[in-house]
């Protein structure tokens, strides 16, 4: 029996292993963004402070949340590192390119989305750093962002979000990034299934359009909250 560490090492040096890892981490990140998007939508719910209530529920996971966060960070890093290594290898595998190159169409799934994975991916990574600084490591209870949920003093994330998205940079910058996320998922959903060997000629015609639906759905879901905040008069 091989240890899990040597298994990971083995996978990283094999072209198939790298794909399986991109697939696992990519699928994990897709699940994460869907949950994140659904969570954000609670901002629009009626009732008293639904967004802070949701955030409070999340925080009540306690140490479980830290485990999830560490797992998520690992997935992001692993995914990005392998993504870049695939790109580097691709450049090495064809040092001299074609003068003329076209897609044959037909069965091909090559397009803007598939050709731009590395670029949309890197933009997402840079965005992530900026995003974490703005929100996760942004103003806290100590800075006067206090809300009361069930008699407890919690961080007022509703206020933070409202303030941020009242600014045009956030209100319109975020939607642009979310469209790029949707584009990444347009190829990513099918690609992850194929990388994990979960496809066959019968289900591929269903899985491939699913990427478009999920990518567009996630993008729209993430975009409505910032735009609603920006266009809602105070």
């Amino acid at each position: 029996m091989t240890s899990s560490g040597s298994l990971l090492l083995k996978a990283l040096v094999s072209p198939v292993g790298r794909k399986v890892l991109t697939g696992i981490t990519g699928a994990g990140l897709v699940i994460f963004v869907i949950i994140h998007m659904a969570g954000n939508l609670t901002y629009l719910l009626p009732g008293s402070d639904p967004y802070n209530l949701y955030a409070h529920k999340l925080m009540s996971f306690g140490w479980g949340l830290y485990v999830l966060e560490i797992g998520l960070a690992t997935f992001f890093l692993l995914h990005a590192i392998i993504g870049v290594s695939i790109f580097v290898r691709k450049r090495r595998a064809r040092p001299k390119g074609y003068k003329l190159y076209k897609s044959a169409g037909g069965a091909s799934r090559m397009g803007l989305s598939s050709r731009s994975m590395i670029y949309t991916g890197i933009i997402l990574l840079v965005f992530l750093v900026f995003h974490l600084i703005s929100f996760k490591f942004g103003p806290d209870v100590g800075d006067g962002y206090v809300a009361i949920i069930k008699g407890e003093e919690v961080r007022d994330l509703h206020r933070l979000m409202t303030e941020k998205f009242k600014g045009p940079l956030y209100a319109f910058g975020y939607p642009v990034i979310m469209i790029l996320l949707g584009l990444h998922m347009r190829h990513g959903v099918w690609s992850a299934m194929q990388s994990l060997g979960l496809t066959n000629p019968r289900i591929t015609p269903i899985v491939y359009p699913l990427g478009l639906i999920m990518g567009a759905g996630v993008a729209v879901g993430f975009i409505v909250v910032p735009l609603t905040i920006y266009f809602t008069p105070v």
Binding site: P15, V16, K90, A104, G106, P201
Partner: protein
Amino acid sequence: MAKQMTIHLRVWRQAGPEAPGRLVDYTVTEANEHMSFLELLDVLNEQLIGKGQDPVEFDSDCREGICGSCGLMVGGIAHGPQRRTAVCQLHMRSFKDGDTITVEPWRARAFPIIRDLVVDRSAFDRIIVAGGYVSVTTGGAPDANALPIRKHEADEAMDYAACIGCGACVAACPNGSASLFTAAKIAHLELLPQGRVESERRTMAMVDQMAAEGFGDCSNHAECEAVCPKGISVAGIARMRRAYMKGVFAG
């Protein structure tokens, strides 16, 4: 009477493996719609030889789409614009009179150019040597139907066995990956009872060799399936990944 055509060609000329290459313009006035693309190049070469110039080197053998020797990027697409045909079966009726067509060799680090349009595809042979065979002793030729194989599995194995090893998948892949070729060979053997026993070991050995030859990773663009003269499905690549995972977890 076959329609006469004038075709302008921009052909990659390269004197040797290390020589710098470039696209050279030629015009063939005696083309006709029934010619194959390779016959067009034959006519061009007659012209060149008549003028005392070096003919354009390209590979071909059967000229009926079954040997896998031929392979050119025609108009930016491996084997040209017609689906499911090797370039030897691409006819000039797929083009219009007066068209300009760019012709380039397969480009991949693992397929070094020998001269003009001829590349060295022996990397494929080494992938086969690494495991693309069955090593169980099968004895003498078995009786027909002694080993029952389900119809759909026999059909699927046959679909993968149709791979002629031309290298179009590598040429068309934006990453220069040999995944479709390797997967076709693995799937063809894995689907049959004689080949199934060694499937995981074979898959790991062939995948490792594929990496050692300097082919790129697969990004699931599926451009390979689109250009494959035999229409081999990327479902084979999913199958290869399953066999590989089984191999890894079995230790």
